[in-house]
């Protein structure tokens, strides 16, 4: 038995879904988690390292593309304000004023 007084049998039952009351305890107990980590060695038959890292890299890529798109749209917006049809009128007004002066 470990310091937290939880027996191996109770943890086996917890794993089998028979001891759901242990949930809160296990979530906080390093000893019980250590035991479960040992018990679950080899449970997973596929190494998740590559797919997880690939997904993280892809998410990063999407984030960067999103940022780039936002930057481009922002630049286009600024260009439109600066050089768009409305800007021509403003420029004409400015030219007329300077001619009148």
């Amino acid at each position: 038995m470990r310091d937290c007084q939880t027996t191996d049998e109770r943890l086996f039952a917890f794993v089998d879904g028979i001891e759901p009351d242990l949930e809160a305890h296990v979530a906080d107990c390093d000893e019980c988690q250590e035991f479960l980590a040992e018990l679950w060695i080899g449970e997973l038959r596929t190494d998740l390292t590559t797919p997880v890292l690939r997904q993280i890299r892809f998410d990063e890529f999407l984030r960067e593309v999103g940022q780039l798109t936002a930057d481009v749209i922002g630049a286009l917006g600024r260009a439109l304000i600066e050089y768009g049809p409305g800007a021509d009128l403003d420029m004409d007004d400015d030219a007329r004023k300077s001619d009148e002066e």
């Binding site: 191996d8 879904g17 979530a27 390093d30 980590a37 080899g42 997973l44 998740l48 997880v52 993280i56």
Partner: protein, 185 residues
């Protein structure tokens, strides 16, 4: 630095050190994945009782953990933190399955990939000798688990033993091997 050399270096780091490095070095997070993926999967499987679903959840847990790393303060152990994320996602998945029941997915076939084992020849020989020296009642269940990739329940059926006896024997066998292989650490 070579890949295997880098892996060895990461293996020597604690979880906290790896978490600190993972912000700027994704490979450090890769070591955390290798270290905890079985645990995360086990935590999810305990709740969802479906290996395919548990694997998907484990993957999602690890991706979310990476995104949330800046918020990990290190007050709890990294493994406890993962456990909570895994439990929450698994419970959500069970809830969704109740609301939107889908057809049952087939279980993934067991796979053993000796090529992924990075130990060198001498270590392998020592390990084989250590396994050979185990008492028969520990050796058999361990071999079925590690070499055949069988579930605890399947081993219990094959050896005609209660499942908890099988679990206990495999844990004892692993501990005995770990002590014996201590010099390789």
């Amino acid at each position: 630095m070579g890949l295997s050399e880098q892996k060895t270096e990461y293996a020597a780091l604690s979880d906290i050190e790896l978490v600190a490095a993972a912000g700027s070095d994704l490979d450090a997070f890769g070591e955390l994945i290798r270290r905890h993926q079985d645990f995360v999967y086990g935590a999810a499987l305990r709740i969802v009782r479906n290996p395919v679903m548990a694997q998907d959840i484990a993957q999602e847990v690890l991706v979310r953990a990476y995104r949330a790393l800046p918020g990990f303060r290190g007050k709890a152990q990294f493994r406890s933190w993962l456990y909570r994320i895994a439990t929450n996602l698994a419970l959500n998945a069970v809830q969704r399955r109740r609301e939107y029941p889908a057809e049952t997915l087939p279980e993934q076939p067991a796979r053993y990939d000796p090529a992924s084992d990075a130990v060198n020849q001498a270590l392998r020989e020592d390990l084989a000798a250590a396994i050979g020296d185990l008492p028969e009642k520990l050796k058999k269940p361990l071999a079925l688990r590690e070499y055949e990739g069988m579930s605890y329940q399947d081993i219990a059926d094959v050896l005609d033993l209660p499942i908890n006896t099988v679990r206990t024997r495999i844990l004892r066998a692993r501990r005995a091997l770990r002590e014996r292989m201590e010099e390789w650490r």
